[in-house]
Each structure stands twice: as structure tokens, then as C-alpha cells.
């Protein structure tokens, strides 16, 4: 487990601020213990100091993962969030989209959210803002990017895409073997 380099830390935080804004501070500065980001095979893990010490007893070759995987750095050095990060994104996200029960399945199969499936949207959501997508029962289903601002959504036609899909909890089944 490597410490993230300065540049990679910046890339990671830039991506996280897109979804949870200033709340990234709450991930770093936690009252219940010290938590840190570590890198292993280009994947970024978020784990407590205590768990890190335990993980260091394992031979690096044998260690597959420790803590929660937030995402990975691509070959072009961009950071991509994985669905496993949803646990930490959902409680802090300021911008949310709720989907109707009828559109839930479509989203969980990896499709974008249409206007017809839009149940509710946070006021003042700008265009291209990272959003967490909830079911109407307030269950976080995944995250994506707002394709339209809240104002634009009002006048959009029912088939227009409102949010671009990025990750959903259906991936736990669909791409079980690639998630760590």
C-alpha cells in the first residue's frame, strides 16, 4: 500500500469535490479516528489507521485490498470513482436526484436517467454537477452527472436525459469479479 503522490491526491480530491463539495474535509478529518487514502495497483483505498497497521502485516504480494476501494487511476492518469465509494458519497452529497420506482430498474441496469423517470431533484443543481441518485425511498442507487440544470429540467421533454449514469449498485452483480 503506497501513499498517494501529491498529484494523485489532487486528482482524487478534485474528483471527490465534484460530488460532495467541501464535505471532503469530513472524510479526512474525522472525529472517530484517523483515516487515510492509500494506493495499491492504481486503486485508491480509504481505510482507518488501525486497519492500515493490520494490513501492513500481510505480504504486499498477497494483499488484494484493504478498506474501501474509492476508485482507480486510469492509464491516462485520470481518477475514476467506483460504486464502492457510494457509501461515503451518499451521506455528504449536496446535490441529489430521486428516480421514480418505474425508472429504478432502468438505472440499475446501467442506463441514464430520463426526464420521465425523474422523481425529484435538488434545487439549484447546476449542469454537469456530480449527483447521487436515490430511489424514492431514499436508498442510494448510484451516482452520475447532471445533464441538465434544475431549471432546464422543467422544460425538458420526457425522453431527454436528465442525469448521465456513472455507477450503480447493480454493478455489484454485473461486474462482481472486477470490483475490489
Amino acid at each position: 500500500m503506497k501513499v498517494l503522490s501529491e498529484e494523485r491526491t489532487r486528482l482524487l480530491f478534485e474528483k471527490l469535490t465534484k460530488y460532495i463539495g467541501v464535505n471532503v474535509k469530513l472524510l479526512i478529518d474525522r472525529p472517530d479516528g484517523t483515516y487515510c487514502f492509500r494506493e495499491k495497483k492504481d486503486r485508491v483505498y480509504y481505510l482507518s489507521e488501525r486497519l492500515l497497521h493490520l494490513a501492513q502485516t500481510v505480504k504486499p504480494d498477497n494483499l488484494i485490498s484493504a478498506g474501501t476501494c474509492f476508485g482507480k487511476f486510469t492509464k491516462t492518469n485520470k481518477f475514476r470513482l467506483h460504486i464502492t465509494a457510494l457509501t461515503y458519497l451518499a451521506p455528504y452529497a449536496p446535490h441529489k436526484i430521486w428516480v421514480k420506482p418505474s425508472a429504478e430498474q432502468q438505472f440499475l441496469y446501467g442506463h441514464h436517467v430520463n426526464k420521465s423517470g425523474l422523481g425529484r431533484i435538488t434545487e439549484n443543481t447546476p449542469k454537469h454537477q456530480g449527483v447521487v441518485i436515490y430511489s424514492m425511498g431514499d436508498l442510494p442507487l448510484g451516482f452520475g452527472v447532471a445533464a441538465k440544470s434544475t431549471a432546464e429540467c422543467r422544460h425538458a421533454d420526457p425522453l431527454a436525459t436528465v442525469a448521465f449514469h456513472q455507477a450503480d449498485i447493480g454493478e455489484y452483480i454485473r461486474s462482481e469479479e472486477t470490483l475490489t
Binding site: V3, S5, E6, T9, R10, F13, E14, T17, V22, V24, K25, I28, D29, T34, C36, F37, E49, N77, N124, P126, K127, S149, A151
Partner: protein
């Protein structure tokens, strides 16, 4: 009477000196005669084991008893007499011992063997001798007799029609053969290298720009850029040029330091660092959201216009003129010249036809 007593006493003394050959055991011993092994599964007397002065004696006695049992078993086997000595043929050992060395790994296959396995090609058995029709005799597959037979057969080689007539066909054949031998030797060495996982240098022509990979090209570009007197410090950058990210590049590029591994920071310092990085990112974000501001402005304008309309409307009333009748023209037509029209005055510019 004395004699009898004496004999009895002697017997008793003898008995004291030698212990009996029968041993009582709670559980029977497991005896493997082949490896002369007896294993005692009975519980040890812990009381005696704990006593300092009794321990050795107890263990010695236990060992004697068990050895006695083993020897008893040996005596049960059929004995032979060889040169004044009694000999016993031991049976095969039944106890399996763990091996000292690891199990040998199978030999790695050569490239041809791998290919043959994938294609399902099996080796055909060839006879050592082969009948040669031309020479009318049996010729071996290889060896000095084979080469002698070849010489006999090829005392004359026909020059092919389109070949150079001055070329020595024998020399050509010999060189072809030696090339085949060399190729085989190279492949043999390559197989060994592959089996031992040794990196071997590329053979053949060096990579040219049309065949190089992206990684090789970026490396070459980075090295070329740094190959100036000032180590590429004043070299211009291309628009949108990125830092090359190639492993081991810093060792190749002159003037670049090898990256050292950053020391692992203590948790407190790491947290501080992270917070600093985050602070910088948050600072960089625009404080005014342009899109939001524009939409806000548009909305304000719309509201203003609506207000104006509301204010003007009641002043208009239904009919404008005082007579209370609708005029002929309810709305004025827009006019280009702001209502001024002078036929004598010319418009802007000349008339175009």
C-alpha cells in the same frame, strides 16, 4: 538341601540381574518391523516425569520395555543361520516418511513442444536405419555412415536452370546446412533462457519509428528533448504537451534525478497535507457560478419585463382615443425611417440594381 538352596539363590540372583522378557502394556505398541520402529501410544506417567531424580530412570525403563517388545516381535520372524550368526529377514517398512526435498517441478516445455501440444502433434517413431533405393543399402538416420552415404549420393549436383552457373552448389549446400545448425542452436539457447526466465536481448534490426510502440516513441522524444547543452531546459513545449509517464525514464534522460520513494508520513502530517491540498482545490473553484449567475440575470430580466407590462397595461385601457370608438388602426405598423419619409431625400447608400 544346601545345594538346592544354593541353586535357587543363584537363580534368583540371575533373575534380578535380567529383567523378564514379557512386558505388560495397557495399549499394545504399534510396531513397524521394516524400519525397526515401535511407537508407544500409552500415556506417560506425569508424576514421575516431573520429579528431577526419577525422570531419567523412568524414561530409561520405558525405553527398555519398548525395545524388549520390539525384539520379541523380531524373534517371532523366521530365523536363519549364516556363518554362526542368527539372521532375520525384515519385512518391507509400512511407515511412510515425509520427503525431505520438495517435489520436483515438471520441466518447462520448449517452444516446439508447446506448439505441438496445442496442435495435438505427437512424435512419430522413426527407425534407426532406412533403406536407400539409390545406393541399395541400409543407411542410418544420422552419424558418420549417413554423411558418407550423402557424399556417395551427391557426388554430382545439377545446376538449376535459373541459377548462376558459376555458383558452387556444394558450397551453397554446406552453408545452408551450417545455417540450419546455427538456427537450431540459437533456438535451443532461447528455450533454456525462457525456462530460466532470463531476459535476452532482441535479435534482428533495431526498431524504427514506424514499428516502435507509443511507449518507445515517447521515451525517444523525451531523451531527444533533453539532449541539448542545457539538458532541454530551454526547449519549447508543444501546446497541450504532457509530461511523459514511462517507467524508468528518469534513468535514461540526462539531468533528471532518480525519483526517491517518499517517506511514509506520520498520520498527523498526512492529514495536514491532505487538508492543504483540499484547501487549494476549493480555493480554485470559481466563487461565482457563471451559469447560475447568467440564469439569475435572465430570470431577473424576465421578471422586470413582466412588471413593466403589468404597469403599462392599465394605462392603455380598451380604446386609446377619446371618442370611445376603435380607431381604424389599432396597432401601428413598424416603420423603417422612424415615421419620417421624404421622397426627395435619398436613403442610405446608392440604389443597387
Amino acid at each position: 538341601m544346601d545345594i538346592v538352596k544354593e541353586i535357587l539363590q543363584r537363580e534368583q540372583k540371575k533373575n534380578e540381574k535380567y529383567k523378564p522378557i514379557t512386558v505388560e502394556k495397557h495399549l499394545e505398541l504399534q510396531i513397524d518391523l521394516g524400519s525397526l520402529l515401535a511407537s508407544d501410544t500409552n500415556d506417560l506417567n506425569e508424576k514421575l516425569l516431573k520429579l528431577e531424580n526419577e525422570r531419567d530412570k523412568y524414561l530409561q525403563e520405558l525405553t527398555r520395555d519398548n525395545t524388549q517388545l520390539l525384539l520379541n516381535k523380531i524373534w517371532e520372524l523366521p530365523t536363519e543361520r549364516v556363518d554362526e550368526a542368527i539372521v532375520v529377514q525384515l519385512p518391507k517398512p509400512t511407515t511412510t516418511l515425509p520427503r525431505a526435498k520438495p517435489v520436483p517441478t515438471p520441466k518447462p516445455l520448449t517452444k516446439w513442444q508447446e506448439f505441438a501440444k496445442a496442435k495435438g502433434i505427437s512424435k512419430k517413431k522413426k527407425g534407426k536405419l532406412e533403406w536407400d533405393e539409390q545406393l541399395q543399402k541400409w543407411v542410418p538416420l544420422y552419424g558418420y555412415k549417413k554423411s558418407a552415404a550423402e557424399k556417395d549420393k551427391n557426388w554430382l549436383i545439377e545446376v538449376p536452370q535459373n541459377a548462376d552457373p558459376m555458383e558452387d552448389m556444394f558450397a551453397k549446400k554446406a552453408s545452408e546446412k551450417s545455417e540450419r545448425v546455427a538456427k537450431n542452436e540459437l533456438q535451443r539457447l532461447k528455450n533454456i533462457a525462457r525456462a530460466k526466465k532470463v531476459k535476452i536481448p532482441r535479435v534482428g534490426l533495431p526498431v524504427t519509428s514506424d514499428k516502435a510502440t507509443a511507449l518507445q516513441l515517447t521515451t525517444a522524444a523525451a531523451v531527444a528533448k533533453a539532449s541539448t547543452a542545457s539538458l532541454g531546459k530551454f526547449q519549447d513545449k508543444l501546446p497541450k504537451e504532457k509530461e511523459p509517464r514511462v517507467k524508468g525514464l528518469n534513468e535514461l534522460v540526462p539531468g533528471k534525478e532518480r525519483k526517491r520513494k517518499a517517506p511514509i508520513p506520520n498520520p498527523q502530517a498526512e492529514k495536514e497535507n491532505n487538508l492543504n491540498v483540499l484547501e487549494n482545490i476549493l480555493k480554485k473553484r470559481p466563487k461565482i457560478d457563471m451559469e447560475k449567475a447568467v440564469s439569475h440575470q435572465i430570470r431577473e430580466e424576465q421578471v422586470q419585463r413582466a412588471e413593466e407590462k403589468k404597469n403599462i397595461k392599465p394605462a392603455k385601457g380598451k380604446y386609446k382615443n377619446k371618442s370611445g370608438k376603435p380607431s381604424k388602426f389599432t396597432a401601428k405598423k413598424p416603420k423603417g425611417g422612424k415615421g419620417e419619409r421624404n421622397p426627395g431625400k435619398k436613403g442610405h447608400g446608392r440604389k443597387r440594381r
